[in-house]
Symmetry: C5
Subunit: 122 residues, 5 copies
Amino acid sequence: MAKLDTNDWITLNVGGQRFLTCRTTLLLKEPGCMLARMFASQEQSMMPSSQDSTGAFCIDRSPKYFEPILNYLRTGNLIIDPNVNPEGVLEEAKYYGIDSIIPKLESLAHTHTVPRDAKPLT
Amino acid sequence: MAKLDTNDWITLNVGGQRFLTCRTTLLLKEPGCMLARMFASQEQSMMPSSQDSTGAFCIDRSPKYFEPILNYLRTGNLIIDPNVNPEGVLEEAKYYGIDSIIPKLESLAHTHTVPRDAKPLT
Amino acid sequence: MAKLDTNDWITLNVGGQRFLTCRTTLLLKEPGCMLARMFASQEQSMMPSSQDSTGAFCIDRSPKYFEPILNYLRTGNLIIDPNVNPEGVLEEAKYYGIDSIIPKLESLAHTHTVPRDAKPLT
Amino acid sequence: MAKLDTNDWITLNVGGQRFLTCRTTLLLKEPGCMLARMFASQEQSMMPSSQDSTGAFCIDRSPKYFEPILNYLRTGNLIIDPNVNPEGVLEEAKYYGIDSIIPKLESLAHTHTVPRDAKPLT
Amino acid sequence: MAKLDTNDWITLNVGGQRFLTCRTTLLLKEPGCMLARMFASQEQSMMPSSQDSTGAFCIDRSPKYFEPILNYLRTGNLIIDPNVNPEGVLEEAKYYGIDSIIPKLESLAHTHTVPRDAKPLT
């Protein structure tokens, strides 16, 4: 089996943390979203993002809340851990234009609005 | 004692995070799973995965939910921390074809479906 | 599209952890804050902070509690995860002079003062 | 004061994550355990473990559950954070042969067996 | 403004994780503690600690529980996240000789002693 073209693999430097993914992951699930448009062209010179010294594409956003977004593009399922605030993921879904998960995230963020620690005092 | 052949050690770059393991860990516990098939051959040229600049094999999946999967291949026990959503691990078990843990993960994920934060408001 | 000037991207080494961001993120949201003043000048020789061997600007503060601060400068929303103590974020907001979020953080920190683990014993 | 012999410092690559420790930490607390036997000899050629490209000794185990094990060897106290499943630490204590903490871990793991998320549904 | 003397910045390799701080942070808050004594001299040859290949000073202790200790030296406030066991921080405060926070940590650790997961079964 031949090795994959390195052009098919993309490393993103999101706010200082590196994520490895395939170009197709960014393109196929939500073709209209910002990530799909950023990496639609195969020519690196056409890409609108800076690259750091290791060749990773720079994105000035939170890495923590990007993680479930990227995982959604990989698997088609939105999965959020108990210690992650869904409001943070909602903010990123809006920024990247992943419209299909915004309603679910808005519902989760609404439920989450009452701070946990406040509850026992009320 | 002689050093182990470096061919016996494999570094995986799963979604941007590196994991170190032995080839035998990937092969023996679930011989039919995707990881076992990926690394069955001793010849690197036969491996179907790209390697990054450090020689780690690239996998376009979540590192967080891969962690308990790899640990299961090492120990034979499926262990999930309180702050990890079992749905994420289930997704990876299906992807890698680790069939033996899917029923347990489906049961855990089902229990987890009711979001924690929603509970106090009902 | 041309690549962005690398002078527009800034890497911060906050207490040992690297954060990648744009200069404009640090300048625009709170123009009077310490980070805005630190990076107001385009000339690196004018910047009052040391750089480490990779060129990242050194800041002797907690990286964990800086994360929601930087994210606030990016998005305009203050988002704190359940496992993060808001007192830590409050300390950083005061240090960096992000005055707009101090009242909200003081309120969250006040609520958080009663330690969680103490509650079931009272 | 002279610098310590670098031979006294050991870096372990446990499943992909690096841990720095002193040889004496591995040898003294539990002289019969696997780690003590691995690093008993001062000659690197006698050590039964592979080294990665940075000279760290490779161990094919979970880094997360190794952390409290190594800390126990340093301090003599077994300390587990709320978000860590004690079953994972128990598995490692058995693997490394740290017999002195196995009873406490078995007790903690037994208590932990009922999954947290299942509780509110019963 | 001139750049700071690099001698004023210190990188610590605590158990495998790097922390960046200023010498003055280590010296001023608790002048009698071990860290203050370690870095009191400006001459590196006088420092009693080994340095790793990047020049970071090696300390064979837990990085996780050192984090709130270092943050206390920076800010004067002891802040612990919900998912961190205060017993771990207490152990480090004793080791480094940060006497001013030991009573508060002993109180927090005492409260924490009853394991969370045990509670619902009693």
